[in-house]
């Protein structure tokens, strides 16, 4: 079989299966719902780690520091999230108002 014949045959292949699960979709348009999702800051403690060889002690130190600073960090996250949420909410209201203004009248 030549490569060209293989391509021709492959184009007609159909196994009729829908394989669901984790799927990647590029983010081309950021919706208000997505912005609302992103507005709240939530960090992942598992990403606070050392990537060096034999970095376990450094990871322990980093996570300990994170724990010790949780009151400071908590305030920062809360204040930033509050601002983000209010901005996104205001944006949603403006979009709704603009949509109403564009709608034809009775």
């Amino acid at each position: 079989m030549t490569p060209e014949e293989a391509l021709e045959r492959a184009r007609t292949a159909s196994f009729g299966e829908d394989l669901s699960g984790f799927a990647i979709e590029p983010t081309d348009r950021i919706t208000s719902e997505k912005l609302m999702d992103w507005a709240i800051i939530e960090t992942d403690p598992a990403l606070v780690r050392s990537t060096r060889p034999w970095g376990a002690p450094i990871t322990w130190l980093k996570r300990g520091a994170r724990h010790l600073l949780r009151q400071e960090l908590g305030q920062a996250y809360a204040q930033q999230s509050r601002f983000n949420l209010m901005v996104v909410t205001r944006l949603a209201e403006l979009e709704e108002r603009a949509s109403r203004d564009r709608s034809p009248g009775p």
Partner: protein, 338 residues
């Protein structure tokens, strides 16, 4: 001639870092002086003095700066104001749309990197890409191919022993579409080659992303997918030698070295023609932008059809001629000595 190479960052398993080091060996052999610099050097890279902190670079008008552009690096901007001759070589920056949902820090780096690239290109004395795809984004047709050290392609590579194995080498990252590779592989196993195995070699974006891909594999094809990382050159070569087919479903590639590595090891390649993939592969791969059903069927044929395998191996060997080191070296000298 004094040529300083400047990287956006230097890291382990980083293709651009390896390229710069390979070019430094050539420059030294040509009697050129200079050093290699980066604003950030990953301590895991083990580069010693081979790559230096950018803060130590003070170029003179007699110097040439070769900027290997691959990511956002604000500290590089100051170099644009120096009197040295500036040459930009684009390795491409992945569009941020692939990362916003998965890793915002990387997404920001990509977004800013792509926004910054036109400004950098406009302020350099010469620009080129490592592929025509990359060069076109800069509005040029000037290409300096990657400098590759590939094994001599054997014309009589035997069919690997062991179960039929599909291989992909590349970072576990959204645009590399390992999720689709796993799905296509599941179709292959369920409908064509029930004992097939999939090997995915690459560093993950982060552990959570790795776990999501692993979860998908465990759901669709439990026990049939192996994730590997941090392989040395010998281990990686062994993975290629053991592979019956190489698959690439990336949505964006600025070059895709693993395709050429597959050719060098006599492994048939099935790929989606996105970015620079079609340019790199030429006529030596089965290129199809179709459904995963079609991809699975191509993998099946590449594994079982001896005539097809022989044709693809021969085309792959021939394709490597376009990437001989002398071609890259001539292009680099023409770019820098102009």
């Amino acid at each position: 001639m004094i040529v300083h190479q400047v990287l956006s960052g230097a890291g382990p398993y980083d293709a651009v870092t390896r390229q710069a080091l390979a070019w430094r060996e050539r420059f030294t052999a040509w009697g050129w002086e200079g050093a290699d610099w980066a604003p950030f050097i990953d301590p895991r890279a083990g580069l010693g003095r081979r790559v230096r902190d950018l803060r130590g670079l003070a170029p003179t008008p007699a110097d040439t700066l070769l900027l290997h552009y691959s990511a956002y690096a604000p500290r590089l901007r100051a170099l644009l104001d120096t009197p040295a001759r500036k040459v930009l070589l684009s390795h491409n920056v992945t569009p941020a749309r692939w990362f916003w949902d998965h890793e915002p820090q990387v997404a920001l780096q990509c977004e800013l990197g792509r926004r910054q690239l036109p400004e950098f290109a406009a302020r350099c004395d010469a620009v080129a890409g490592v592929s025509a795809f990359n060069a076109a984004e800069l509005g040029t047709d000037r290409v300096v191919p990657l400098l590759l050290d590939l094994p001599e392609a054997s014309p009589d590579a035997a069919v690997p022993a062991g179960p039929p194995t599909v291989l992909f080498v590349g970072r576990l990252a959204p645009h590399k579409r390992q999720d689709e590779i796993i799905r296509a592989f599941a179709l292959l196993r369920r409908h064509r080659v029930p004992d097939a195995r999939l090997v995915l070699v690459g560093e993950p974006l982060h552990e959570a992303y790795h776990e999501r891909l692993r979860g998908l594999a465990d759901t669709l094809v439990p026990g049939a997918v192996t994730f590997e990382r941090s392989l040395d050159d010998g281990e990686l070569a062994a993975r290629y030698r053991a592979a019956h087919a190489f698959v690439c479903l990336s949505e964006h590639e600025g070059f895709c070295i693993p395709i050429l590595e597959a050719f060098a090891h006599g492994v048939p390649v099935v790929a989606r023609p996105r970015g620079a993939v079609a340019e790199t592969a030429g006529d030596a791969a089965l290129l199809l932008g179709g459904s995963l059903d079609a991809i699975a069927e191509l993998l099946h044929l590449a594994i079982v059809d001896a005539e097809l395998r022989a044709t693809l191996r021969a085309r792959g060997r021939a394709r490597l001629d376009a990437y001989r080191p002398t071609i890259a070296q001539d292009a680099m000298r023409a770019l820098l000595e102009a």
